[in-house]
Symmetry: C2
Subunit: 375 residues, 2 copies
């Protein structure tokens, strides 16, 4: 893994008639009009964004579209997870229909994963599907949510419970915009970058250990890290578009992570998703070591790296009251199907050697969590 020069990268996602390109590099928002108009016939677009991102990048995007003869309307929603709701979905569909967006016109998601998930869903159901372009602006959305076609909203029953698979027609990951992202959000997204190394790319993990500072500061290493992550996710998605098997590996660190998010009531002041994943990945490695599947040295190495970049790695780093083991186990059982006291978990045999285990005894998880809460 060597960093190349500071130019653009292209990851192609070969999904037959749903194939698409992901462009990764600086200044892509300024070129969006050109990239879209060479790929999509319609001359109308509707941009969906949130108020943070819109204030910074809506005007440049509008200008770029106009330059290439694309007439655009926009809607700006409140930032935050609450925006992934039926209410927002209804509102966005209404705006798209009011703007008379037709099958060959484009709906653009300009924002983080919240905007991408909501907008991809709306674009897939208005007129039973119009063209859809992702312009992800958070690190998490560039390396994870904008690739793979999962879209959706939350309901009172839980996160992402209503939605569709809707692959975009194009993804433009403008690496410049990450400069305005908060340090904390950048770090949270970085947890997902590291995840790809831990799943099955030990060389990439090692490269990150050596180059993470440049990934944070921008430039070629950042582009390289994002492109490698997109390629990794694309590979998994192509192998298993509808999530029946291998795609489950993407949940490394997420079973524990989701339980911690639930325990902190999705209060982003206490824990954001990537932080939960960071702690969750460390726990998954420690738990694998405890089951004698992997060496404890690997768990220590994972913890050391995530700690170095400033991510939390232990449950007791979460501000506020420590969640009870019982609560965590309930959340884990909600998340995963429990069959005769056995759980499905992503475990590992070492760095870059994770696998799906579907026979993990609940009792082992309980004693592991008890132990972790003690120290």
């Amino acid at each position: 893994m060597t960093s190349s020069d500071n130019t653009e990268r292209l990851v192609h996602v070969p999904l037959g008639e749903r194939a698409y390109d992901i462009l990764i590099g600086p200044g892509l928002i300024g070129r969006a009009g050109g990239e879209i108009s060479t790929r999509i016939k319609g001359r109308k677009a509707a941009i969906v964004t949130d108020e943070h991102v819109g204030a910074l990048y809506l005007d440049p995007l509008m200008d770029s579209l106009q330059t290439d003869g694309i007439e655009a309307v926009s809607i700006s929603l409140p930032p935050g997870e609450k925006t992934k709701s039926f209410d927002s979905l209804t509102k966005v569909c209404d705006v798209l229909l009011e703007a008379r967006i037709e099958r060959n016109d484009t709906v653009i998601a300009l924002g983080g994963g919240v905007i991408g998930d909501l907008t991809g869903f709306a674009a897939g159901i208005v007129r039973r599907g119009v063209r859809f372009v992702q312009i992800p602006t958070s690190l998490l959305s560039q390396v994870d949510s904008s690739v793979g076609g999962k879209t959706g909203i939350n309901t009172r029953h839980g996160k992402n419970l209503v939605g569709i698979f809707n692959q975009p027609d194009l993804v433009l990951a403008d690496t410049d915009v990450l400069n305005t992202l908060s340090e904390r959000e950048f770090r949270a997204g970085y947890a997902e970058v590291a995840k790809y190394g831990l799943i099955d790319k030990p060389d990439f993990f090692e490269w990150l250990e050596n180059n993470w500072k440049e990934v944070f500061s921008g430039g070629a290493a950042r582009i390289e890290a994002i492109a490698t992550s997109c390629q990794a996710k694309a590979d998994v998605v192509v192998a298993d578009e509808r999530e029946n098997g291998r795609r489950a590996l993407l949940n490394l660190g997420h079973t524990f992570g989701h339980a911690l998010e639930a325990a902190t009531e999705y209060d982003s002041r206490r824990l954001v998703h990537g932080e939960g994943v960071s702690i969750g990945m460390v726990l998954a490695h420690q738990f694998s070591a405890r089951l004698n599947l992997a060496s404890p040295d690997d768990a220590a190495r994972v913890e050391a790296h995530l700690k170095a970049v400033g991510l939390p790695t232990r449950i007791d780093e979460i501000p506020g009251e420590l969640p009870s083991t019982e609560f965590l186990m309930d959340a884990i059982a909600q998340d995963k199907k429990v069959k005769g006291g056995k759980l499905t978990f992503i475990l590992t045999r070492g760095i870059g050697q994770s696998f799906v285990a579907d026979d993990v005894p609940a009792s082992e998880v309980i004693s592991f969590l008890e132990e972790k809460r003690k120290k």
Copy 2:
């Protein structure tokens, strides 16, 4: 086309991994549990119905499911087109999630096209898609809306503007339940049956001319007519699942029909969909004759048959004020794309010889409508 004995028919829709069976015959609701449990793994179901249909058929369906070990919940919505809304969609999704319907569990639409369209949409988005069974109870839904996978809801911008393609896993068309359908609704559905003959099955149209009374009274001829219609629609859908070309033929009579529905403000006391289609098909044949594409005798034969079964065939049969030509033209232009004064229309060269014409001069349509309004 000969009528067979009074037993069940099966139409297979060969859509690759989305393939499914349509069973057509008497008593299918009583056997629903068995038919579902041999095809679908999950042991949970949720039934969506409307208050008319639910009062008649919910209990027998629940009993049948229970007998085969399927545990079911149900939701009953107000009958009528207004139920195809974002509000109902939100409500149905909530019920499905509350009942913990999972990917291999079943959502059942028990009702006419309104319930089928709404429920198919909900089943396709809850958990990004769970299993879906159509039990269509109106003639229209048995021969048209339950086949082909179009699902959706209406918005203030128009009908069916938000939705997805979602093929069912099974369709059970119980021909007995049509006995409780109002005569008017049965006739309206019959317009769509006749449509399949007029599109490309002249023998079927002739068979209907000779056998329509038995189709109305039930028994073997009814099953035969429904099976032939389902097969006809399935053939078109298989050739063009996503509606890019040939599927447009299914809109025979619908351009004029939709304009008439809009002119009567979708007031079902004045006009229901099938009645608009009946008048629209006669107009399409007369218009084709006027353009010297078809013989006026064919138009007369179509009119005579639809009149014989009791369907309206002329604009002036619609109760209330006659819509203006201008209003109708506006509605037609809304419905179809107008390119340089040219419209796309389904025209015909005679009975069973319809085709897509994409260069119909708007001026010709205007003078035709003017003429039709005069007599």
